[in-house]
């Protein structure tokens, strides 16, 4: 009995597990998302921060740019245009280095930016490409966080890597590392302590065993920065890194900060270094003429000492050791060996790297907070590269215009808004400036043409009246009894869906205005921890004071009013509180202690108030600025009484933002430091979305209510849009089990637009537009590889309208149809008739989509509707359609007539060859038909300025195209023109008929009589269906 029971259990288990193994389909990433592709719309006009530039040592056409948050870009044309080559890997770049032994192919990238401002991202180690950047493999340094330098021996397999290391925490993975075997094995050869990393590592250009390494003691916290300490130092090794000596002869004593070092490529005895010291008078540039044995202090001008943590790059002209350039606020160049400096030419401020052309030192490239600049006159005139869409958005928002606009603020590049679609693509000139300084949140008033924007620390909050071109600053000001208002560098603002004029801002208090910022009321007590130890920003910076406001702390960071109930407001603070009010601010509850597993004081970056339930919210926390890179997202359904983590280990990178779908509450979108993640089951499992979304830090996500577009505000790759994510709402196990599944789609509006655009130059970035075509979206359980698979559109009577080529991918496929049928067949002439290339649109209605896959047929319906903004009434539209199709038919009629005539001419010409006596009957046919044809189609000339006078075919197809491509009722003038063309066509047909009856008839009789080869002319149907 017992054993029988066990057998039954075992069988049940077996059956159950087999069934569930068959049933459960878990698709990830590319297997699932298929054709659902993102589009990167930039913008590139303000570009973004560059960390490092590198040139090919032998080919000055090839240049690489490493963006702080936007990956690696390669230029093949001497810096005129750049292409992204590192999309799949972390986009925060420290350094790029090219192997001088194999410069076309072997490239190394150290990730993790090294100019350690408050907003820096993190890297993920060292990468190598051996095919010029098309493919990359990770080499290691998983915990390096940021790599500052890579030095590759020109003669051996030695590679040296300088690891700056963790910015916000202690770390062992710092210092100088050496690989003796081209990167296979690594040994740490210079290490100071857990706080001190290698900020610069250079080798002697003549002797690769001579190394110079600068070591830097530094640390950030969310509320402070420290540069400098007893351990910062400059070292030299002459034995390939076995032993190191400090080379400080001529340096002041005491603590040092960040140290830059450079060796002159043309004279290895000449070195420059820039020091950050305890006394301002000792800061700045030092030079050595004896390879570091002794140093002489030359200069402490502003440009040489400004913000060492942000600007510590020294670059020496490859040909002239006395020409030295230093990064800085404006960049400084000396042509007298470092004694005196002048600023580089006008360009975006904040210069991080400089690259000289290998052949001509007048040609220079400069990496700034606003992209790459080129100079052809030694740095005096600077020209911006206009196709690097590496803009760094902090936040984005959208409006409900058609097409909708996207608003956002950027690191050191102000605030902007631009359209999601524009004639000719989204060009630089489509973007509008809406704020200065560092830009953060930008919000459009829900009903008025007014935009709110801000700069760092809410120093200015602008209310901009777009129609009147007037702005007013409206930031909350302290009133009697107030303590100092503490605004975050990236100060929160919010609008209300309930009260259009309502506007919120957060300092340590929540401020509310009901009149668009003219009157402010505090509706909360201090909602932060108000920890005084975290409010000492005046002392921040270390050896060089740096109180920019970037470290302001114990502030409110995110505000969310419930879309369901305006009395429910959520507030998250940078010091880890999550506060909620259910009575419009009368009382507040701090719910943070209800969250399990979250380290204390972890920054609450975003709260998403749910669209489904007023007690439901999502809170996203991130602790990167304490060195905690874990992902923290919690959901509450009871106003914060309980919180549940919705994170799985499928997610990589700390998260800053989550977006809930408006229709399916289990569909969520999460932005992390390394890309976009999507769950369709409320967070039980997550899948990374990669189709044209790089591994970039996604700071903010919006879902557009009308279009269902998912809009990503990235910190390094601009705005990225996934058009219409609605198919994801319909994904379920039931769908995934089907061999073919069509997703429901809403009726397609046949957009009527015909504007101008597209005047950008070829070197400017243009963001792609969304497709306005109808989308046929379906899922394939398995890729279709063998046998035939077709797709066609049929009208309501089952007639084929057009054939389309279906996608064959496993997962989601998207096929677009521009609601056009085939172009008309036009008469054969000598040249093109351009109007004949126009395909007419079909009429609004329901169409059938038919997929035939092997023996199986799958069908769905597709609905097309007319554009509600159309100028056409139903009656007008019918006239337009009828006239279009009349001209279409006339065009095909003419095509057949000309074909018939050509056949007769050919037969007549052959007849002449076959039978000399036929001259009398054949020649008149040839002559009369050719003369007639000359009036019907162009029979000479070319397709450019050698064009002949247009004839009937050209006039007909021009009118056809004019009416078919337009969006108005045919005008009186067009109808008159049609009459003229019809008359001419009728006359031509009558003339042909006459010739047929007389001359052709004679020739036919002659052929028949002589028993010669008869003529065969295709039927019109056969001719047209060819």
């Amino acid at each position: 009995m017992k054993s029988a029971f066990y057998v039954t259990i075992a069988l049940c288990t077996l059956i159950f597990s087999r069934v569930s193994a068959q049933e459960e389909i878990k698709l990830k990433g590319k297997e699932l998302f298929g054709d659902l592709q993102a589009r990167q719309i930039g913008p590139a006009l303000m570009s973004g921060r560059i960390n490092d530039l590198e040139g090919h040592p032998k080919n000055n056409r090839v240049i690489y740019a490493g963006a702080a948050g936007g990956g690696v870009w390669k230029s093949f044309d001497g810096g005129v245009t750049f292409k992204s080559i590192f999309d799949e890997h972390p986009q925060s770049i420290g350094v790029i280095s090219i192997d001088p032994k194999d410069p076309d192919n072997t490239i190394w990238v150290g990730t993790g930016e090294t100019w350690t401002r408050n907003s820096v991202s993190i890297g993920d180690g060292l990468f190598q490409s051996t095919d010029g950047g098309n493919n990359w493999k990770k080499v290691g340094f998983n915990k390096s966080e940021r790599i500052s330098s890579i030095a590759i021996s020109p003669s051996s397999q030695d590679i040296y890597v300088g690891v700056l290391g963790a910015l916000w925490s202690d770390s062992e993975e710092r210092g100088v590392y050496k690989s003796p075997d081209g990167g296979k094995t690594w040994e740490r050869i210079l290490y100071i302590d857990q706080k001190t990393g290698c900020s610069d590592l250079v080798t002697d250009p003549k002797d690769p065993n001579i190394l110079y390494a600068s070591m830097w003691e530094f640390r950030r916290t969310p509320w402070s920065f420290n540069s400098g300490g007893q351990n910062s130092a400059l070292y030299k090794s002459t034995d390939g890194g076995k032993t190191w000596d400090k080379i400080h002869n001529g340096f002041p004593s005491g603590k040092l900060g960040r140290i830059a070092v450079a060796v002159a490529p043309s004279d290895p005895n000449i070195l420059y270094t820039v020091l950050e010291t305890e006394q301002a008078k000792n800061n700045g540039l030092y030079r050595s003429d004896d390879a570091g044995k002794s140093w002489q202090h030359l200069n402490n001008d502003f440009g040489l000492v400004v913000r060492p943590f942000y600007f510590s790059r020294l670059v020496i002209d490859p040909k002239n050791p006395d020409v030295v350039v230093k990064g800085g606020l404006f960049g400084s160049i000396s042509r007298d060996g470092g004694k005196t400096f002048k600023n580089l030419g006008n360009m975006h401020a904040d210069i991080h790297d400089i690259l000289f052309d290998i052949n001509d030192s007048d040609r220079m490239y400069v990496g700034t907070d606003g992209g790459v600049y080129r100079s052809y006159n030694g740095g005096t005139t600077m020209e911006m590269v206009t196709n690097l869409p590496i803009s760094q958005f902090y936040h984005i928002s959208v409006d409900d215009n058609e097409p909708y606009n996207i608003y956002g603020g950027l690191q050191d590049n102000g605030s902007w808004y631009g359209p999601s679609s524009s004639p000719g693509g989204i060009e630089a000139r489509d973007w509008n400036s809406i704020g200065y300084g560092d830009g953060f949140r930008v919000l459009k008033h829900p009903t008025k043409n007014i935009i709110y924007s801000e700069m760092q620390g809410a120093e200015n909050v602008w209310r901009y009246d777009v129609d009147r071109n007037k702005n007013k600053t409206i930031q909350p000001l302290p009133v009697k009894g107030d303590p100092k208002l503490r605004f975050n560098w990236n100060a929160p603002m919010a609008i209300s869906v309930h009260q259009p004029d309502r506007f919120y801002m957060g300092s340590q208090f929540l401020h509310k205005s009901e009149d668009m910022g003219d009157t402010w009321v505090k509706i909360s007590p201090d909602l932060t921890t108000n920890d005084p130890a975290k409010q000492t920003q005046e002392e921040s910076g270390g050896l060089s004071k740096d109180n920019s406001g970037a470290e302001n702390h114990t502030t409110i960071f995110t505000i969310a009013e419930s879309p369901i109930d305006e009395q429910v407001i959520w507030v998250g603070t940078d010091d880890g509180n999550v506060q909620v009010t259910q009575n419009g601010g009368k009382s507040w509850t701090n719910t943070i202690t209800n969250i399990q597993g979250l380290p204390k004081n972890t920054w609450c970056y975003h709260i998403e108030a749910s669209n489904f339930n007023k007690g439901t919210a999502y809170a996203v926390f991130e602790g990167h600025s304490t060195g905690d890179f874990n992902t923290y997202v919690y959901k509450t359904t009871d106003f914060g009484k309980t919180w549940k983590s919705i994170i799985t280990d499928e997610i990589d990178g700390f998260a800053r933002n989550i977006q809930e779908d408006y229709e399916n509450e289990n569909l969520l979108f999460l932005g992390t430091e390394f890309g976009l993640y999507i769950t369709i089951n409320g967070g039980l499992s997550w899948s990374k979305f990669t189709n044209n979304v790089p591994a970039v830090a996604i700071h903010h996500i919006e879902l557009h209510k009308k279009t269902n577009d998912l809009i990503l505000g990235t910190h390094g790759r601009g705005i990225i849009i996934i058009d219409d994510i609605s198919p994801l709402r319909q994904l379920s196990q039931e769908v995934l089990q089907k061999n073919v599944h069509f997703f429901d789609s809403k009726p397609t509006i046949m957009v009527e637009e015909s504007g101008f655009g597209g005047g950008s130059t070829e070197t400017q970035f243009i963001g792609p537009n969304p497709s306005k075509s109808a989308r046929i979206v379906y899922y394939l359980k398995k890729r279709h590889t063998f046998g035939k698979m077709t797709m066609e559109i049929q009208d309501s009577e089952g007639n084929q309208v057009i054939e389309l080529t279906p996608g064959k991918s496993k997962g989601i496929n998207i096929v677009t149809w521009n609601y056009r049928t085939k172009q008309p067949k036009v008469a054969k002439g000598k040249t093109f008739t351009y109007g004949g290339f126009t395909s007419p649109r079909v009429q609004a209605g329901t169409y059938k989509v038919v997929i035939i896959k092997g023996k199986d047929t799958y069908e769905t319906e597709l609905v097309l509707v007319n554009d509600p903004t159309s100028l056409l009434t139903d009656a007008d539209r019918k006239v337009k359609y009828d006239v279009t199709m009349k001209l279409y038919d006339m065009s095909e009629d003419l095509a057949y007539t000309v074909y018939e005539m050509d056949e007769w001419v050919t037969r007549a010409e052959n007849l002449l060859k076959e039978d000399a006596k036929s001259k009398k009957v054949a020649e008149p046919v040839i002559k009369l038909l050719n003369d007639l044809k000359d009036t019907m189609v162009i029979t000479k000339g070319d397709n450019y300025v050698g064009a002949a006078e247009p004839q009937l075919r050209e006039k007909l197809s021009d009118l056809y195209s004019k009416i078919a491509a337009g969006f108005e009722k045919p005008s009186a003038s067009e109808m008159d023109n049609l009459k003229l063309i019809e008359e001419r066509f009728n006359k031509a047909k009558a003339d042909f008929k006459k010739i047929k009856e007389k001359q052709i008839s004679k020739m036919t009789a002659y052929i028949e009589k002589g028993n010669l080869k008869p003529i065969t002319i295709k039927s019109k149907d056969d001719f047209l269906s060819e």
């Binding site: 056409r61 192919n105 044209n692």
Partner: protein, 243 residues
Amino acid sequence: MMLALFFVASWAQAQTADEIITNYFENTGGYENWGALKGVKMNFKVNQGGMEIPVEVVQLSDGKQYTKVSLQGNNFMQGVYDGNVLWNTNFQTMKAEKADAETTANHKLNTNDFPQDLYDYKKKGYKLELVGNETVEGTETFKLKLVKEPVTVDGEKVEDVVYYFFDKENFVPIAQESEVVSGPQKGVISHITFSDYQEVEGLYFPFSISQGVKDGPSQPITVDAIEVNPEIDESEFAFPEGE
């Protein structure tokens, strides 16, 4: 059953590049039959915004080739190679023009790539390497790297590399990638997918090809007919002198 699973897994892991392509040629008609192929003629239509354009492509084993594009009843010859001259019809003047010397020289290097560049790659001095696995078209594939003779671009020698993605299940290539090496698109990765493999006289050809750029738009074509060993008049390839 466990044993069988084990074998399948280890067999899949032990694949080498040579095994993959040998398998492919054998399964799609036989290595020798592919080698005996003298030429291919392919007819398809390109659909551009509702405009259907008929195209005929011919490739012969001796390197001769043409693409005939039919527009409003007139034929435009493109990429025509007669063994010596590479030429195109200018769409404006409608006259034949020779391709520039560098393009022609690069093209000549590819004339040994019939029926496919992978075929007999060793004899041609090419290098083939299995570089890894990748999910392409939602499908697990082997990624193979083929390095051909270097080409010359704007005076510089550049490696000619093609990546093939072979479906792990059935050993046919379902995608191909290569870096665009010349022109303003230089550096962009061209991405081509293959499907609808069907038999023509014992050999399997993809009847659906979609050509575009990686992570960007693509242009699909559906092949109407493929003819093997077609009879083509030599004059079709000849550059029309004195036009």
